[in-house]
Structures are given as structure tokens and as C-alpha cells.
């Protein structure tokens, strides 16, 4: 269980096994991921195994997965993307679609107001 301290055996650019070909990323760095329980296939790399293992007991965002595995955020996203399309990870979006950022990636008013009141109650707490 020394995942975080373990020396990375594969360079980041090989971790995805995709030969460096960029995949179109539909996931956000804050997409939450959790293992679906399906078994990994023979073609999955050791890094894929570590990602699935990391989110077996709970959810983490793509950027947190990258951080725990010592990978750049973009590589964490690619791994997550592959595993979601293979059915091994379940993804949940950072904000519900109906409230998704509309104006050039800006968060909804509702979300910003939730953040404001949350920060205010943390201060008085």
C-alpha cells in the first residue's frame, strides 16, 4: 500500500498504452470516478490496474487520481477516459448537466451562490 511513494516504472507517456496518440477528452479534471466492479482485461496496463484499485473503495476526481499515481493531470484524464469507455469506471460530472457551465466555461449562478454561502458559514463556524 505504498502506491504514492512507489517509484513509477513506466514513463507517463507510456502509461496509457495508447502510443501517445491523443484521445478526445470529454472528461473534466473534476469528473469523479469509481470502479464499476467489472474485471480488467488482458490488454490493460499495470497503471490501469492501479487506477481501478485506487477508486475501488470510493470516488476520486481525475486530477486526484493523477496526483496519487504521480502522473500529469492530462495522463490521468486519458487513463480515466479509457477505463470509462471500457466500462471499468463509472464517471459522474462535476455539476449536473442542467447547471453545466454555459458562458464560456463559467459556473452557474446557482453554484457560485452555494459556494458563497458555504464559505460564509465556514467562517462563522
Amino acid at each position: 500500500m505504498s502506491r504514492g511513494h512507489q517509484r513509477r516504472l513506466l514513463p507517463a507517456y507510456l502509461a496509457t498504452g495508447a502510443g501517445g496518440a491523443p484521445l478526445p477528452t470529454t472528461l473534466d479534471t473534476l469528473t469523479a470516478l469509481r470502479a464499476s466492479g467489472l474485471p480488467l482485461a488482458a490488454y490493460h496496463t499495470p497503471v490501469h490496474h492501479r487506477v481501478v484499485e485506487l477508486v475501488t473503495d470510493g470516488s476520486l476526481t481525475a486530477v486526484e487520481i493523477a496526483a496519487y499515481l504521480g502522473l500529469p493531470a492530462s495522463v490521468g484524464l486519458m487513463l480515466a477516459e479509457q477505463l470509462v469507455s471500457d466500462g471499468l469506471l463509472k464517471a459522474s460530472v462535476p455539476v449536473p448537466d442542467a447547471l453545466a457551465p454555459s458562458r464560456a466555461g463559467r459556473p452557474s449562478m446557482q453554484l457560485m451562490e452555494e459556494v458563497l454561502s458555504g464559505l460564509q458559514s465556514l467562517r462563522v463556524a
Binding site: 500500500m1 505504498s2 502506491r3 504514492g4 511513494h5 514513463p11 507517463a12 507517456y13 501517445g20 491523443p22 473534466d28 479534471t29 473534476l30 469523479a32 485506487l54 473503495d57 470510493g58 470516488s59 476520486l60 476526481t61 486530477v63 486526484e64 493523477a66 496526483a67 496519487y68 504521480g70 502522473l71 500529469p72 493531470a73 492530462s74 495522463v75 490521468g76 462535476p94 455539476v95 449536473p96 447547471l99 457551465p101 458562458r103 464560456a104 466555461g105 463559467r106 459556473p107 449562478m109 453554484l111 457560485m112 451562490e113 452555494e114 459556494v115 458563497l116 458555504g118 464559505l119 460564509q120 458559514s121 465556514l122 467562517r123 463556524a125
Partner: protein, 206 residues
């Protein structure tokens, strides 16, 4: 940015709350050593994490992983720190990203900046000019921001109006003082930023 302050990734991950929640992010920006990591540590409820981002000296190619494969001598690694806090009520999980201040690091945080609620720019009165670059970058991206003067024991006690003038801030850009080591002080700075993001979004919509 200041990776020497980062805790090594914990072997035991701190999972997200199980309940339904939204996730939002705020950037904490500024030059090296201005207190970004301190502010993130002060507020984060998990040990701060970082991703090691790879870039080449030719910043334009920094995102292209095929270049990394060359293991060029000009490849450098930059740690991007972040922290996380669940707001009371558990309906929002807020991420704080440390954002390095120089234009050459832009490709590393452009993706991170997308969807951010805004940026808190930390400045040090002893070297205000070092914050100009990151303020320009944030303005170019149309991201709302607030400026917080991080008070260091030996920093000169500037009148905020003088700081505002020196930084050439828009009249509605919030300018506050904060001690990045103090929870309430740092929270107040984030509150000023969030209120500003809300009011500027309101203006944009009308």
C-alpha cells in the same frame, strides 16, 4: 508551485463524500513564494496534493505528449498544488489550485482554469510588479479575480489605495489583505472573490 511544501501523496486516498454534490474550483494565483501553497494548505481538508506537469522550454509544445517521449533536455517538471474542502452542508466540494504566475507556464494551467469560478491573486507588497504577469493572464481569459495582499511580518504596511493604484486595478476588483496562514483571513479573501464573481456574472447576463 512550491512543491517543497507539498506533502507526499498519502497512500490512503481521501475519498469524495458519498452524497450528491457539485464540484467547483478556484485558482490561487501569484508569483513563486507569495503564499499560494500556504493558503491552499490553510483551507484544504485533505493533505495537499500535486500533479507533476511536464513542459518543454518551448511552451507552445508543452501539452503535446509526443514531445515528452523525446526526453528532450529542455523538458522540465512543474508541480501544480491543489487542495480540497467540502463546504458545510456537503453539497459543494471546492478545489483550490495553485497557479504559477509566469506566462510560460500557461499551457499547464489553461485546462485547469476552464470552468473556474475565479482566481484569487496573491501579492506581496515588497514585489508588486511580480504579480502583473499573472493578472494579465487571468484578465485575458476573462476570469473574475480578487487581489489579496498577503501580509508578511516584514512587508511594508501599504495603504490599500496605494496598492490599488500601483496594480492599476479596475474600481470593482476586490482588494483585501490576508494572512495566508489564517483560516478566517483566507476565507474572507475567497468570499470577496466569490461575491465579485457573482456580481460580474450578473452584469454580463443583463
Amino acid at each position: 508551485m512550491d512543491s517543497s511544501h507539498s506533502v507526499s501523496p498519502s497512500p490512503r486516498p481521501v475519498y469524495l463524500p458519498e452524497g450528491e454534490h457539485q464540484r467547483a474550483k478556484i485558482l490561487v494565483a501569484g508569483p513563486l513564494g507569495v503564499g499560494k501553497t500556504t493558503a491552499i494548505k490553510t483551507l484544504s481538508q485533505i493533505p495537499t496534493l500535486h500533479t507533476d506537469e511536464v513542459m518543454t522550454d518551448a511552451a507552445a509544445g508543452a501539452d503535446d505528449l509526443s514531445f515528452v517521449g523525446l526526453r528532450d533536455k529542455t523538458t522540465t517538471t512543474v508541480a501544480i498544488d491543489f487542495g480540497r474542502l467540502t463546504l458545510p452542508g456537503g453539497r459543494v466540494v471546492l478545489y483550490l489550485y495553485g497557479t504559477p504566475g509566469q506566462r510560460r507556464f500557461l499551457p499547464l494551467w489553461e485546462g485547469i482554469a476552464f470552468g473556474a469560478l475565479g482566481a484569487l491573486v496573491l501579492v506581496d507588497t515588497r514585489r508588486l510588479d511580480e504579480s502583473f504577469e499573472v493578472m494579465d493572464l487571468i484578465e485575458e481569459r476573462g476570469l473574475p479575480y480578487a487581489v489579496a495582499v498577503n501580509t508578511f511580518p516584514d512587508s511594508p504596511d501599504y495603504d490599500l489605495e496605494i496598492v490599488r493604484k500601483k496594480l492599476d486595478l479596475a474600481p470593482d476588483t476586490p482588494l483585501v489583505t490576508c494572512d495566508a496562514r489564517e483560516m478566517d483571513s483566507t476565507l474572507s479573501a475567497l468570499i470577496a472573490l466569490t461575491a465579485h464573481s457573482i456580481s460580474s456574472a450578473g452584469v454580463g447576463a443583463s
